[in-house]
Symmetry: C2
Subunit: 400 residues, 2 copies
């Protein structure tokens, strides 16, 4: 007695038979099954249906498991009411905007089921990989008494009459955790950015995987390689989970990257790499993911460790379209942090909560942050970050 | 050549030898090792030290691994500067307040290393257990266009000039995800409560593990048992991870619990269970964790499913001191939600965003929320929730 239970994504009448496509959820991973019902049946697309006594059809097409059953072995578990949009059209006519507003309905689409289950699966694989490598998961506060990086693009909060801020980054907390003996830590949570960006890749509330690790006993270069390798291993785990194949990584220094870009574009040393430059580099180097490292001092913040007066141990990782990761070795010496701040014309007083943890004895360390939704965008091949986030937030989108 | 690396938690001089206790972090789990150094050595307590060419001592005491080494096989990786408090005293003199302010230092204490590594380990075990049971991890927004449960104790936010709120609960989002085909979901993240509670068990930013699952095809009673069993299994996983033994669970209905409480206290049917009542019940029933279910309608919110006009399919789970879990079957029928609201004298308009998802076809479901820090408080035997949270937030504590 084969039994299925799930939403009907397609309903077709064919002579005396009804062909239903059901997102079956009786197993652990939802699969689409086709059930050919013998008898009359009202249109039940978008409805949750239970169907039992199904017999497999052995002459199967299209990789969809096919079954037959009698119409009295079928029960509609939900009542038919007006739906925001039809799920049964061959090509669903919903727009992304409609899908987000009616997530409780659009999630019934098979493409969305598969996408959001993949999000959960990849996140779990990444965490497992980190735990196996001795990383300790921590939680850091999102309500802060000061803006994380002294920036202006921060959400303000009324905290019992006091002014508070939403965390733009867990960076200082990660650093405190590793320099005080947790050695290797990670966190998965939101970062909050009050940026008026209306692009396909920016959200005001972005889920990130942040890692930080000590690089004690390593040279600056060795430490950078260790941090980059950890980051690439994670991207590899995610990529293989979705595509089944190992991705190709290439690494190039910023200096060489600029030289390579000048084959096609005019780019000066010290200028930032734009989308078209990244695409050119990835094409030239024939890779899935590109690491650019040793960024110049002028392009990195004060807390990135410098390899000399000109270059830093900072890196970014890109896929075809976007920056997925930013990271590097951190400056851990209090007096050097002060010098870096002065050189960048930042008043050390304005970041004093950051500096305090480094007044005491500290050890070399570094880390990175993965923009998790951006990673999933690439892996699930969607063009808009709002299509891979269940309930996205941008300057206009505050509901549902 | 045995090598260790980590912070010195204790430094003792004994004739011509120095005895160091080091939180070794070269392995995956930190262990305390005792290294007896032959030769001179300045006080290096609280400093990160690397030590190599260590020889094991075979006559060992106190379960602490003991080694010897020469003083020139030792390097202090950090510089000696003023420390907020000494780590080397046999009984550390720091208070909890001092420890929180100087977390980058207090985390070096072995007790804290073990505690915060246990937090990460338990969280990972809980997620693995859920993934194995087919639960899908989701992320729901923490910035909301309306207060989650229509409550007043909610933090307000300036969202590009508009008023927004921090989520008090992911409940509606969890419900939307399961009723639209994800079937079983969980989320781990903060809930934010603007409560002026200054107790040992309340924080304004509390990390929770929220689960939600469909109970389709089950009776109300079966569904409740299924939800409770899922919750108890998770508590069991956490308990065993820390203590190594399976805990004892008992379940009692609210009605019977009140009868039992009246052996010692005066408690009327319909009154809430207080701390002393829970302690009495747990003592009488000889269990580690107590589930109280079938709470009366007057003690549960409008969205909990009712078994009849008087009782609900709602439950709480307690350990010796505290409520760790609250959960139950949810009301999923739009017209019943309206009736429940009217009966509780709540204007349905005030929770209209909640109601919208149930206007369409929905299916039976339920879930629960575990207060993760409270669970860890019990397992790590600490009295104050601030002692198990790296950077806690309460009405007074907004830094670090």
């Amino acid at each position: 007695m084969i039994k299925f239970s799930g939403y009907v994504t397609n309903y077709t009448r064919l002579k005396s038979k009804i062909i239903l496509k059901i997102i079956d959820t009786t197993g652990e991973v939802p699969g689409i099954v086709q059930v050919v019902v013998d008898g009359r049946l009202p249109n039940c697309s978008g409805q949750w249906i239970s169907v039992w006594n199904c017999k497999p059809v052995f002459d199967q097409k299209e990789c969809i498991r096919e079954y037959t059953c009698e119409s009295d072995n079928l029960r509609c578990e939900t009542s038919t009411v007006d739906q925001p949009f039809q799920l049964c059209a061959i090509k669903c006519k919903s727009t992304l905007g409609t899908e987000i507003v009616h997530r409780y309905h659009s999630l019934k689409l098979l493409k969305n089921q598969l996408k959001f289950r993949a999000v959960g699966r990849v996140l779990h694989r990444l965490r497992c990989s980190l735990v196996q490598s001795g990383f300790v998961e921590i939680q850091t506060p999102k309500i802060m008494g000061y803006g994380s990086e002294g920036g202006s693009q921060v959400f303000c909060l009324n905290y019992f009459g006091r002014r508070a801020y939403l965390a733009q980054s867990p960076q200082l907390y990660k650093q405190q955790a590793v320099i005080s003996g947790l050695s290797r830590v990670f966190e998965t949570n939101y970062v909050y950015r009050a940026e008026l960006s209306r692009t396909n890749r920016h959200l005001t509330q972005a889920y990130c995987l942040d890692c930080q690790m000590i690089t004690n006993g390593m040279s600056g270069e060795q430490g950078l390689v260790y941090i980059q390798t950890t980051a690439c291993n994670l991207i590899g785990v995610a990529h293989e989970e979705i595509t089944g194949v190992k991705p190709i990584f290439k690494t190039i220094s910023y200096e060489k990257a600029v030289v390579l870009c000048n084959e096609k574009f005019e780019l000066l040393q010290g200028e930032d790499l734009e989308k078209q430059h990244i695409q050119h580099l990835i094409n030239q180097l024939s890779c899935d993911y590109l690491v650019v490292d040793y960024f110049p001092v002028c392009l990195r913040p004060f807390y990135i460790l410098r390899s000399n007066s000109e270059w830093t141990y900072g890196f970014d990782l890109f896929n075809k379209n976007m920056e997925l990761i930013s990271g590097g070795q951190r400056e851990y010496r209090h007096e050097r942090l002060i010098l870096n701040l002065i050189q960048k014309s930042i008043d050390p007083e304005s970041v004093s909560p950051y500096l305090q943890a480094f007044k005491n004895s500290t050890i070399p360390h570094g880390g990175f942050s993965i923009g998790f939704a951006r990673l999933m965008m690439g892996l699930c091949e969607v063009d808009n970050i709002r299509d891979i986030v269940l309930f996205p937030r941008d300057p206009d989108l505050l509901k549902p």
